[in-house]
């Protein structure tokens, strides 16, 4: 008889005189490989069973890929940025305008999208030094909204009301289903690369230094941390990574409209992904991304017109009942271990 026992941090499986341990620690290598395999197999299965789910998965990967660098930015600057979609707009419009004007493909527009995102982040990076708390929130919140207005004012260039069309697509094999499958793997690759890279940073000395800024930046300054340098680097690097997702959106849909990505609704979705996942915890961003994307699809499919009301209500209930996020349920098993999250100041 197989005996399965759930212990604090592991599942113990016993069969006759044999015993297997499965450690539940999220960063344990076997778990990481297991989850990556599940994510890799999922689109291929969907391709045969329900191709519509591939689109949901692409959305989930994009949400996660925006929320993960946003988590890094939040921890590294010790501040909550309410305007990550500004960099999606910058990256997306750069890719769209270049692609339409010169007929460039995604590989040609990518470096420019990264460059403009980084430059715009550098321009606004003094915000992380001079503004704190509510002022920082308001200033970052304003950026995408001002950009949205700009797209309407300079409608000849940005086509603010209709969006830009005719962007060279990300993948064009001639078969829509295969295109979707390739885009799904591409989005998954970007998300996993972000996850691994940022996890590596957070586990390193730089992650520890960022955590001190997140906890108490004055004290961090007093023990020798060059807080301005760390804050600006994490702000700019994360903005560049978010800008790449703007590029991805532009080439994925072959169109880009600021009205889709720059308003509050999109920004709130990204923030909820981050908070419901696990309060800026990067593994939580993946959980949150998939949860929000699949919940949205499920509600649109089965609730129809009531979805716009039910969706935020469900998310709000989760936000209040799980202060540590979905990932927090898991994290509690190993709460002594260092996994940086947003330090909520009351």
């Amino acid at each position: 008889m197989v005996d399965i026992e759930l212990k604090r941090e592991r599942i113990v499986i016993r069969y006759k005189d044999k015993k297997w341990d499965w450690i539940l620690e999220p960063r344990y290598w076997r778990n990481a490989i297991l989850w990556t395999l599940v994510l890799l197999i999922f689109p291929a299965v969907c391709y045969f069973v329900s191709p519509g789910l591939i689109n949901t998965m692409i959305n989930a990967n994009i949400y996660s890929a925006i929320a993960i660098p946003l988590g890094l930015m939040t921890i590294g600057t010790g501040r909550m940025n309410f305007g990550p979609n500004f960099y999606i707009g910058v990256g997306g419009y750069t890719a769209a305008l270049l692609s339409i004007a010169y007929g460039w493909g995604p590989l040609m527009t990518l470096p420019f999208a990264i460059f403009t995102s980084i430059v715009s982040a550098l321009v606004f990076s003094p915000l992380v030094i001079i503004a704190r708390g509510l002022y920082y929130v308001l200033l970052t919140l304003l950026l995408p909204l001002v950009f949205l207005e700009v797209t309407f004012i300079y409608s000849d260039t940005f086509k603010g009301d209709t969006g830009l069309f005719g962007i060279v697509p990300l993948v064009d094999t001639g078969n829509a289903k295969i295109n979707f499958l390739i885009v799904a793997y591409l989005s998954l690759t970007i998300m996993l690369v972000y996850l691994l890279a940022i996890n590596k940073i957070l586990k390193s000395r730089y992650g520890l230094i960022m955590a001190t800024i997140n906890d108490d930046e004055d004290v961090a300054h007093g023990i020798g941390v060059n807080i301005n340098k760390v804050k600006i680097i994490s702000f700019v690097a994360a903005s560049g990574m978010i800008g790449i997702m703007g590029w991805f959106y532009a080439h994925y849909f072959s169109s880009f409209a600021g009205i889709t990505y720059l308003p509050l609704t999109f920004m709130l979705k990204i923030l909820l992904v981050m908070m419901i996942g696990g309060r800026a915890q990067i593994f939580g961003c993946v959980v949150g991304g998939y949860f929000v994307a699949f919940l949205e699809t499920f509600l649109i499919r089965y609730l129809g017109p009531t979805q716009p009301i039910i969706f935020p209500v469900i998310l709000m209930i989760f936000l209040f009942t799980l202060p540590e996020g979905l990932f927090g349920i898991w994290r509690k098993r190993r709460y002594r271990e260092y996994l940086p999250t947003l330090h909520v100041r009351r």
Partner: protein, 248 residues
């Protein structure tokens, strides 16, 4: 003994309130300088100015011959200036070991120091202050005394030349206070530190300090050996009020 820290004509106003007024003193290498004054005298303001948290309006501060007046706190820390806080300010989400490791990483520069080297060094400082067994406990779960010791370990890990201790006795019971004083004396001896000790409890400084500087309303009242300062009429008046002799 050479002067390790020189403060010249330091001034600081907050709006119309004069917090520090033309304050000058120096700290000699290897000594323990006590810094006393009644509530609101400007002691913590002086420490905040010296550690770079707030800028001075005018005046000069020199650390080991280097003018640090306009330097940022992290630059001062790397030059060998460390401090503890009156109310402990730990990194609540980090373990004791991680908190001290950051200090070892970011304080005075060590050549070819890896993350692991810093963690090993941090373990040494935790052992020194008696927190080795609590190394994997989150700072938010430590007791008040342990937080004081964690702050001391965090400050020591930056390998300072001079250590500012801001009211270490506050919130400790007599037994813990006694242990804290012994620990500071041990740290001074073992690490060859110079100590600038801000304290409210006069008795502690009389025992521990080589010299004392007393201030009131941001200006220097007296300077000298503990006996001289304690028996100084101006100092007694600052603590007990005018006309104290009538009740003595």
């Amino acid at each position: 003994m050479k002067d390790i820290l020189r403060v010249r004509n330091l001034n600081k106003n907050f709006g119309g309130i004069v917090a520090v007024r033309d304050l000058s003193f120096e700290i000699r290498e290897g000594e323990t300088l006590g810094f006393i004054g009644p509530n609101g005298a400007g002691k913590s303001t002086v420490v905040n100015i010296l550690s770079g948290l707030i800028p001075a309006d005018s005046g000069e501060v020199e650390l080991d011959g280097v003018n640090i007046t306009h330097m940022k706190p992290y630059q001062r820390a790397r030059l060998g200036l460390a401090r503890t806080y009156q109310i402990p300010r730990p990194f609540p989400e980090l373990t004791a070991l991680a908190s001290v490791t950051v200090s070892a990483l970011c304080g005075k520069k060590r050549k070819n120091q890896s993350f692991e080297d810093a963690a090993v060094e941090a373990t040494h400082y935790l052992e020194f202050v008696g927190l080795f067994s609590k190394r994997n406990i989150l700072a938010r779960d430590l007791t008040f005394y342990e937080l004081r010791m964690l702050e001391l370990a965090r400050a020591l890990a930056t390998t300072p030349k001079i250590l500012f201790i801001d009211e270490v006795m506050a919130g400790l019971n007599p037994g813990e206070a006694n242990r804290a004083v012994k620990m500071i004396a041990k740290a001074k001896e073992q690490f060859g530190l110079t100590i600038f000790w801000i304290e409210h409890v006069m008795a502690v400084l009389v025992e521990a300090a080589d010299r004392i500087v007393a201030i009131n309303y941001g200006a220097k009242l007296a300077e000298g050996t503990p006996d001289e300062v304690v028996n100084n009429d101006a100092v007694i008046e600052a603590y007990l009020g005018r006309g104290w002799k009538e009740y003595a």
